[in-house]
Symmetry: C2
Subunit: 172 residues, 2 copies
């Protein structure tokens, strides 16, 4: 594990620092879920909570959406939305549909999306981070923020995974 | 709310971007806890969980510790540790000692520490972020990472606060 935010070979300087944040965050997430069984990944603490598996798929979905927004400057197509809506929204459908999969499936999905992210980030320079856009409500964002938000969303859900793991531990 | 990671007046360029991350993260945290009563801040979901109040005090404690490590290049003194150990460690003592305080107390504590952080960050330049140190286990960190970790730790606990709020909501 590298505890340094710094430039990375193959990326422009600030993009490399962003990659440090993305990679570090993912490494901690994967360490937190390592060794979980299907039963543990499917565990629902309460009727309306999210499983660890669904939260992992949500992380992949959020990253995919941000690839589309920031590299293609568009929203999801209807077909993309159909593929990703359940892990994006979580909730009832995620509880019934995202289950009974081994950890390797989630890890592979995360890796596939991340590899694409790294490939795309390798082709832009620092100034790309400061390109701005507008939310529907008129608020301005830049692309650096949007990728910071990918990190933030994963980290927030990782905190939730830790609570779920504590609850699982107590059930033994 | 500003959804841009960018330079900030009064800070060197990359320090300003770090301040964007710190400030954005805090704004979301404060929005998440706005309006909570003492009873809600003290709520314990299960015997060994942390209250929202204790998590807020933990955020202040983590930020204080990182001020000391990164600006004074030292660990806490015995006296500082005595002051901060309970919110740092959370657990049993935090459950019994950090309670019965109104939200304003936690917000004031967070603000006091943050004001100091901003004052200190205003006096360093970008190169400071890349100063390195070593953990006891020999792993290398830089100061940019340590402050990223302050953001990360707050975000992870904020995810947990959201679960606690959902549990509170169901109790009504």
């Amino acid at each position: 594990m590298d505890y340094r935010i710094k430039e990375q070979a193959g990326f422009s300087p600030k993009i490399g620092e962003l990659v440090s944040m993305l990679d570090y965050t993912r490494a901690v997430t994967l360490a937190d879920v390592a060794g979980l069984s299907i039963e543990q990944l499917d565990y629902l603490a309460e009727g309306d909570s999210n499983s660890i598996g669904a939260l992992l798929m949500h992380m992949a979905a959020i990253e995919f959406v941000h690839q589309v927004i920031t590299f293609e400057n568009r929203d999801l197509t209807a077909q993309e939305l159909e593929t990703w809506l359940v892990p994006l929204e979580l909730g009832d459908k995620a509880r019934s549909e995202i289950r009974n999969r081994p950890l390797d499936d989630y890890v592979a999905e995360l890796k596939k999306i991340r590899d694409k992210t790294l490939s795309l980030l390798g082709n832009v320079d620092d100034s790309w981070l400061y390109e701005e856009g507008q939310y529907d409500n008129g608020a301005t964002y830049n692309k650096y923020y949007l990728w910071f938000h990918v990190v933030e969303d994963e980290t927030s859900h990782r905190g939730q995974i830790r609570i779920l793991k504590r609850m699982l531990e107590k059930q033994k």
